[in-house]
Each structure stands twice: as C-alpha cells, then as structure tokens.
Amino acid sequence: MTVLAVTEHRRGELRDVSFEIVTAGRELASELGTELELAVIGGDVDDFADRLNLDGVGTIYTVEEGEEFNHGVYTQAIEQLYAETEPTALLLPNTVNGLDYAPAVAGRLDLPLVTDVIGVEGEDPLEVTREQYGGKVETTYDIDADSYAITIRPAEWPAAEGAGEAAIEAFEADIDEDAIGATVTGFQEVSGGDVDISEADVLVSIGRGIEEEENIPLVEALADALGATLSSSRPIVDNGWLPKNRQVGQSGKVVTPDVYIAIGISGAVQHVAGMKGADTIVAINTDPNAPIYDIADYGIVDDLFDVVPELIEAFGGDVPDV
C-alpha cells in the first residue's frame, strides 16, 4: 500500500533526481494517504541512505550489490523488493538509466507504466500529467489499476530537504548473475575540444530552425559581431554542423551565461536542462507556442533569417551571403 521510490547514483554521487523523487514521492504518498519508502541499490548504500534520510521518508531499503548501475541487478532487486513490500506505486526516475530498467521492471511485474510524468493527482484512479508533441500539449491519464509504475521527469519537482527519521533496512536481494547478459566495462567522457561554452558570458545558440549547414556562417557572423560564443541544440551537432562540445543540454553542457540567445530552438526538456540557469534568456522563434517562450525573458516571434541580419548590422558586422 506504499509508494516505493528508487533513487539513482553515479560514480559515487547521488544524482539530483534522487532528491526530487523524494519530493514527488511525498506528494504521491499524501495523495494516496500512505507512506513513502525508498530503495538505494548499489554503491555506498549506507552513506546514500544517510543522505536520503529526509523528512517524510518512512523506510529506506538498501541493497548492497555492485558499485555502479547494472540494469540486470536493478531489475531483479526491484522485483524482489516489490514482492516483499507490495507498494501501490512504484516511482522511478525518467533518466537514461531509468529508461534502461523501468520498462523491464514494469514488464516483469505486469504493471501499467507511464513515463516522463510531470504531475500526479488524486487517489483512485490516480491522474498523471505528461507532455506530448514536443511539449506543445499536455495530456492527462487515469491509471485504473491497483498498482502501477511511473517514471518522473528530472528537475520537475524541487529537491527534498529537512532531516528525517527513516528506518534504514538492509535488503538481501538474491541476484542470479547467470541471468545478466549486459556488463558495464567502463565510462568515457566526451572530450573538451577548442572552446568551453560553459565559460562564455554570452551565448548565441542555434537550433534546427537554421535549416541547413550553409546557413551557419550567418550565426557565426552574429556571434562575431556580439563578441559572443556559438553553441547549439543537439540536432546541429548530430548533423555534424558543429562539434559536440558546442551542444547545450542534458547530454551536452550545462551553461549559465549572462545572456543566452536561443535562435530557432524549440526548447525541448533535454535542451532546457542545459540552459535554464542562464541569467537572461532571449528567444527568436517563429512559433509563438514554442516551449522556449515559457522560460524566456525576452522574445522575438519572427523569422530568424529576417532578424539575424538586422542584428548583425546593428552591431556593425558584415552580413554573409547565405
């Protein structure tokens, strides 16, 4: 009858989402009139459990099993913990690793799964909110089931604070190593390259709205005229138009410039994860409904191919022929 939330860590550190899932879990537990329990699997579980001993957490189950994430271990451990604790709601992080085990866990336990949830409400049935069509609309779903699994979007709930009085219990999972056919052999960091965009005061950042590689000189000229650094959303890097070290976002760099000028960028959640900490955000986008306007401070709803040349001229730059 509880809410069981699974936390996440990497290379010895708890990830932010572990504290956010406590907040989401507390909210859900109070909607359901029940208690929040946490699972910590792998790594320095005792230290992690101490740090997650936060206000509103009932019990923390620690599963001492390996240093790093392995989806086989997680799947088996959660399956067994689930059988023992019989929670109503299984709450998992919608992270890259979360997506590597949540669907498998839900499949094994025959639970309905809703991913990337941004809101929970009500008791029976539970109503969850998520985004669709790149954030242009929100949808709500009723989950009419005795128990279910949901993954929560990172950075959607604030990190939980306040010391708690949780019971910390070691849980002995019986892991069948033979059933695990995926082995993590190491980690690799994406190399630095020529510039560090996270050091820049002003970023001119471009997205798919630039349309073609041939148009890149236009924004380069703007960055030059402003004395700014050029960065981009992911598709520009995927296409090989700019190197990987220019990418802003979840799988790129986190930047906090004084001014971030987003040009032809829609503002997908994975992009916003990398730039929402900018002091001032300016968006240039033809679509007034683009999610980027939700976090922008200033906006120009117009065609970048009209606005950017004017802007270059306003700073005395030469507009390239594109």
Binding site: Y141, E189, V190, K253
Partner: protein, 262 residues
C-alpha cells in the same frame, strides 16, 4: 543474421493547431519518419553493408498512410517491411507502451531476429519505453540510449549516452534489443534508385488476428482523459514590430546590459 528495426510514423504539429476531444486536429498534423528510427534504420543498413548475409526487416504499427514512411526506410536499404494494422487498432483511443510492445514482440517471435533496433523514443509520444519493454518480453538482453555500436558474433559492444557528456561502455550478449540515439551515424538520403527499388520490395500488412493476437491487446488500465495547451508560464517580454525594429530593441537591451562591445 537478421536485424529487425522498428519504424514509426510520427505526427508533427503545425505552429497553429486545434484540439478536438483528446487529440490534435488531424488537419494540423504532418507525418514523418521518427527521427530516432531514421538513425536505427541507418545503423541496420550499415551493418548489412559491412557484412554478408544480413537481412534488415522493418516493423511498423500504423495505418495505410504510414506506408509512405515505410517505403522511405526500404528506399534507404531495408530489405522488407511488415505493417500491423486493423480496425481494432484504428478504433483504440491510443496505443500505450504495453500494447505496442506486445505487438512488436509477437512479430519478433515469428521473425527471430538476432538484433532488434528501435529509436530511443518517438518524437510525438516520447514514451521512451517500447524497446526495453520488447526486450523483456522476448527475454533478450538490451541497452537503452546507444550512441555507438560495435558488433561481433555474439556480443554488441555499445556506448550508452548518459547525462552530462558521459558514456557508459557496455557489452551486451546477443540476441538483444538496442534503443538507438540520434547522432550515432549520418542517416542517408534515399537515392532515386533506392526509391524505385523500394517499390518492388515486399511490404506485408497483417491484422492482429493474422499475427496471432486478439483485440484484448489494446486494453489498458491507462485512459487518456484530457489534452490541452499548457497554460503559458511565459512572462517573456515580446518585442513587437518588423525585424528591423525588434532587432534594434534586442541590440539596445544587449548594450544596456553591458555584455557586448559596440
């Protein structure tokens, strides 16, 4: 070796759109090959070009309209295509992860591929869950969010793209399902010759019954109850006027802020 690739036709929404009932007006939607699947198709086709005896089969859950998208995958080099659709699927309110995973699993059980490639997510629903759900049902190994792949006879050595510019190196035993991330390769454009050849490649359509499932596969305890435009959280100041005017507003702002020279 056989590679099964999931190919989804995704809906993209026009700048101006309306919502009727629980979905966006059909007239405000445009359909395209899912961006992530484009990379999955390319990866499969490259593997088939690098070695002998690799067959690339695509599977799609989608209406007749999606055949255009499927032909595109065939034109890029897939060998044949399977499409599952019927009135039950057409009439369903929406297809959730478990319905899609059950259908793809059933197709995969008949095809017995060594490798299944899916996109990390579909651009419209963004569930990000179907690939791993299929792996679990098939009892295959898997890896989610793969941005590099090196295949040997019985192991796929992959990079999983984690957050913050870190990649996890993982060895995955075959058979396996890999969910493919954008940027793993450079998807080709279909050549004219490819497009012509695609017309002659087999594209087989089956109903749920024909693949051995019944209507109950669309039943889900998860019911969509509403769709709406989110209340704008925006308190952005929108500069009005033509491009010259708005550009000079922005220029003035940047000068006032003291962040630019000139």
């Amino acid at each position: 070796m056989k590679i099964l690739v999931t190919v989804k036709e995704v809906a993209e929404v026009d700048d101006e759109f309306g919502i009727s009932g629980l979905d966006i007006d059909a007239s405000d939607l445009e359909y395209n090959l899912n961006e992530w699947d484009d990379y999955a198709v390319e990866e499969a086709v490259q593997l088939s070009e690098e070695r002998d005896g690799v067959e690339v089969v695509t599977v799609t859950i989608g209406p007749e309209r999606s055949e255009e998208t499927i032909r595109m995958a065939l034109a890029k080099g897939a060998d044949r295509a399977l499409r599952v659709w019927d009135d039950t699927l057409e009439d369903a309110q929406y297809l959730d992860v478990s319905t899609k995973a059950d259908i793809i699993t059933t197709v995969a059980e008949a095809e017995e591929p060594d490798l299944v490639l899916t996109g990390v997510q579909a651009g419209d629903d963004s569930n990000g869950a179907t690939g791993v759900a299929v792996a679990e049902r098939l009892d295959y190994e898997w890896a989610a969010v793969v941005n590099a792949l090196d295949l040997s006879d019985d192991v796929a050595s992959v990079h999983r793209e984690l957050e913050g510019g870190i990649e996890e190196l993982t060895d995955v035993e075959l058979p396996a399902v890999l969910t493919i991330q954008t940027g793993i390769n450079e998807p080709r454009y279909a050549s004219l010759r490819g497009i012509r050849q695609a017309q002659r490649k087999p594209l087989e359509t089956s109903s749920l019954e024909e693949i051995g499932l019944d209507e109950s596969v669309v039943e889900t305890p998860v019911e969509r109850t509403d769709m709406y435009e989110p209340e704008s959280e925006s308190d952005a100041v929108i500069w009005e006027g033509d491009a010259e005017e708005t550009a000079s507003e922005l220029a003035q702002f940047l000068r006032d802020k003291g962040v630019v020279e000139g």
